[in-house]
Point group: C2
Amino acid sequence: MDSSKTRRDVRREETYQAIKAAAHQQMAAGGTAAVSLRGIAAHMRMSAAAIYRYFESRDALITALILDSFNALGDALEQAHHTAQGNAVQRLIAVLETYRAWAVAHPIDFQLIYGNPIPDYHAPPELTVPAVIRGFVVIIGLIEECLHSTHYTPRAPYAEIPPSMRERLEARIQQDGYTVSPLALYLGVVGWSQLHGIIMLELFNHLQPIVGDSAQYYTVQMHLMLSAFGLTMP
Amino acid sequence: MDSSKTRRDVRREETYQAIKAAAHQQMAAGGTAAVSLRGIAAHMRMSAAAIYRYFESRDALITALILDSFNALGDALEQAHHTAQGNAVQRLIAVLETYRAWAVAHPIDFQLIYGNPIPDYHAPPELTVPAVIRGFVVIIGLIEECLHSTHYTPRAPYAEIPPSMRERLEARIQQDGYTVSPLALYLGVVGWSQLHGIIMLELFNHLQPIVGDSAQYYTVQMHLMLSAFGLTMP
DNA sequence: TGTACATCAGTGAACGCGCGTTCACTGATGTAC
DNA sequence: TGTACATCAGTGAACGCGCGTTCACTGATGTAC
């Protein structure tokens, strides 16, 4: 009944984390596809077989890394949400800045979430599909808040949802049990897809040759987008 | 002095293309990282060593595939440009639709251009950097044309370049010798990064669960964007 | 047109390598009395 | 606190595999006279 950890438990947890850290390091060096159990084992000065005490297989390791990434992004956004000061729009801006900052600071994790799938690895879909949503929920929640604030004045063409999409979005909200309006979800998707493009191009260095300071470019475009949505900038 | 091809030359060219096709097939099956000379050889019922008659190394093969992808995208955009009917705005729309259509029809090629780098492969940078630009030039050329047409009425906030970016863009134009105005380049980058996000999310199936028909979503968002730029829709 | 020679596409074996995974094992840590 | 036993982290060898690349070779195709 004692919840105290034995030395063994502590060490086990340490090793478990160390394996993931080593795997992450491999990815940082050679891309998300470059995970190898033998490589990790060598780096940790243990036998490759030992890793099977911690992960059932290479796939299980990768799944754990992907889930960690999802959670880290979710955590970062939620923390930004709670830390942010000011009115709803200012807080939304803070969270969206965090989104990019996190992607740039953790390119490997961002790729695990949004990049090419890893060859020969197939994620259990029941785990990752809801995980994509988690960070997203923070953002659309904040957008919803903005829409109810005094800083929102509906502005064409983003004052309403394109008719072709309305039904689908409403269904999605019902199905997933979001507590947001369809318009907030719509603006969330629009914003997400716009900003995603900037981040992806930045991550692979396609944007910098043209715009130079991509952080600034992101900030400027984000502000333009939000004011197009009808949100008054502070 | 005869420019006629011998049987040997013809067969060589066929085999050269067949190797690339087989490599492409491998990528389609297992992602861009899944190219293996032995695998290709097996698929072609030849020995792995024979491939070295055609490519100096695995890296050289991949470089050829990447260049092919760049050229294919460039060709597709240029052909769309020449085929398109109507005024400048209509033609720009046609080209931008082609951009997405090509990406969706050739996801592997699109990933070779814009996706994760391939592990252990390093592209010779002098080849790929200008190649990214080629397709882009078609688009900014058309935007320039739009700006000079009667279908353009400057519209805030896209009527002018954010001051922080102006200098950089002008330098870029000078340096690369583009024959477009800084504003066209700016709108090109903005449009590119926005649409890129949609395409990337669609390619990895992140968008469809929310918006359903992603082709339609793309079309709608593209039209909204262009009219925000001040271009009159037909 | 026929012959001698040069070219070169393709072969098959070999190299050294790293991979994921399994298995019977050892020895340190933890538990029950 | 001390002892007997159970747990389990980690080992080391082995499995069968596929990889990129090299090398000396064969034999078909092309060229020059």
